[in-house]
Amino acid sequence: MKKRMRVLASVFAVSMALTTLTACGGKGGDSKSAETSDPNAKDTITALLPPVSGNFQDTFADIQKEFTEKYPNLTLKIEPASWEDMTQKLDTQVNAGSPPDIAFIGSDGISKYVDQGMALDIKDIATPEMINDYDKGPLEYMKKGDGLYGFPAYMEVHALGGNREFLEKAGIDWKKVQQQGWTFDEFREAIKKGVVSEGGKTSRYGFVFATAGVTSKDYLGILIKNAGMPSAFTQDLKYAYTSKNYLEVLKDIRALIDDGSMPKELSSIDAGKRWNMFLTGQTMITGKGMATFEKSANTNNDKIKANDGSAVKGSIPVTYTVLPVPSFLGEKAVSSVAVDGYVAFRGKKEPSEAHKQNILKALYFLASGKVAATTNNDLFVAQITESGRKAAESMSVERDADNKAAVETMLKNAAPARPDIPAELEAKAIKLEDEVIVPKLQALIAGEIKPEEMYDAVKSAAVSAFGEDGVVKD
């Protein structure tokens, strides 16, 4: 018995040691031809992909099959990830020196991987046919300096979303706003009309934007683009948020809460909460608004109609109406856009030319033609490739025509990409945003500091980060 226990215990001990050792194993031998230079050798390309659209991850098997049909020597190995896990999974793999060949990320995340030396520059291997397939605006977002690090999947406008019935009740000509935009003063007066209060209690706000935690970054980022600051840096690479216009936008942010058009608890309202408030009729306008919200609202409307219990509790039928962000101080309206796409990575070891070519093939396969068309239609976003537009001709999308036209108008005013901003400056700006701007903005929204205090804090941090001559003085 004693001997048997010893054997059993040793088996456990050895398996424990082996389990821990396997965690330290290498990436595996899938990409054998990453070593060879033969373009026809068998090769596996790995991709880490989140649920880009609702149905995207369900189509992985078809995508892999079609890819191998097109390139018989190649296998596309897709690792699905949730949006929540995506960054952490990718960052862990990148920092261990063994990232996937392709990952789907926001273009604003490219610079940190470039700085790490782990993003793969495809500028010299991408063919002119591939490059010319893309609209210039979104493609620029995938560049950093002189390098091109992937292909964009879509360019989505960050707009506002309105409840059409409430807008009309408040006497707001939403069609005119969609076509011609609005100024901050017009917007301020409009949302005042959307407020419904009784006995000091507000049952409906004019405007609710998610600002809890880091979402406050979106709020300010979207607004200041319409106040003459389309980027954190001017064309001569001076930090822009020390401009007096910045202070004026901060004052306006506070004014909307002080008017009672936005809830005083705004600083705790997250994305889920404000969408719930929109569907349950607790706000007339919400932000940020994305194209896919129209689909979500329509789905919920159908559930209400069908008396389906999974409809949002207390929700009402809503006709989602895309609205542009107001412009400030007479400045030109500039739409904030999110360009997400497929980015190429390299491991610690330089990949062979053949493997690079194979990564390129997979990148283009995913970010163009049928795959891109299907995903973008699912998301209600515009096609940004010629091949995607062609493939989408045979697909039908049930979308409000006015909303579609409004988004197209906003896309014409999209903030341009700034690949010229050096990674070092960009990294400093991101840190300043996270450590000073976001915390101070949260305090401003919570009514704990004045706009001037926040402006001074940002200015002082900017001067210490970029120097007296590195910031805008107006």
Partner: protein, 300 residues
Amino acid sequence: MAQLAKPAKRRRIRGDGAWAYAFIAVALVVFAMFTAYPVVSAFIISFQKYKPIGSEYVGFDNYIATFKDSLFWKSVVNTVVYTILTVPVSLIISFAIAILILPLKKKLQTTFKAIYYLPAVASGVALSVVWLWIFDPMPEGIFNKLIGFFGISNQNWLGSSATSMFSLVLMAWLSSHGTSIIIYLAALLGIDSSYYEAADLDGANFFQKLWYIVIPSLKPTTLFLLVTGVIGSFQVFQNAYLMTGGGPDNSTTMVGLLIFNNAFKYFEFGKAAAQSLVLAAIIALISLVQFKFMGKDVEY
């Protein structure tokens, strides 16, 4: 003489001794790989600008940047405040619950132990979602409804600097006492009943027994829970990350969260490693002080 010594040496590594070494070796390998190696690695990285493809030696730059960083010191202050507010109160709550459970029958004791230990088994993320719901800033939020009964106006629990830290502290007070309760209960059961019998003969009441028998007898347990509680509290990360993200105005940014952000958000692994080692030094110092002043008359 040498011939006699040889078989004796062989005997030492045979039988139970050999098995013992084999089992210790496994634990040592695991410790070396997953504790010692990361610590040594962190020490090396703290002097580097880390990159997967070739790190760069930067001397003491990361330490200098850490000491100059006002946010680091703010996060240290936040962590100290959080620790002072949570650890002693949590210990008192755990002790009180253990005392209340002690006289119960074994089955009932086990039931209560399981109930109190449940939050430790549940996913921290799931618990945070529940707490976010409890701290809903709108009037329909649970805590807002509760304080509404007392005529207190709506509070922006997590969104205001005035209440954000208190909200995290409240969350700590009302959860995660399971481990401490079980340890206290085990220690309470270990107190010799003859002490209580003698106290009964002397006519001691409940509080006198508590003060003169229970508390002194539990001193090693309290010291252990205090030291581990302070260490755990200094490393707190999850609550701040999931509930407030460190805001508003960095009022809930803890050192653990700052280190995480530097490492995984900005890829400044060198600075994060330096901050981790400074945090380790602070924890070690506090633990030493605790042992020096509280461990004087503790018998193990």
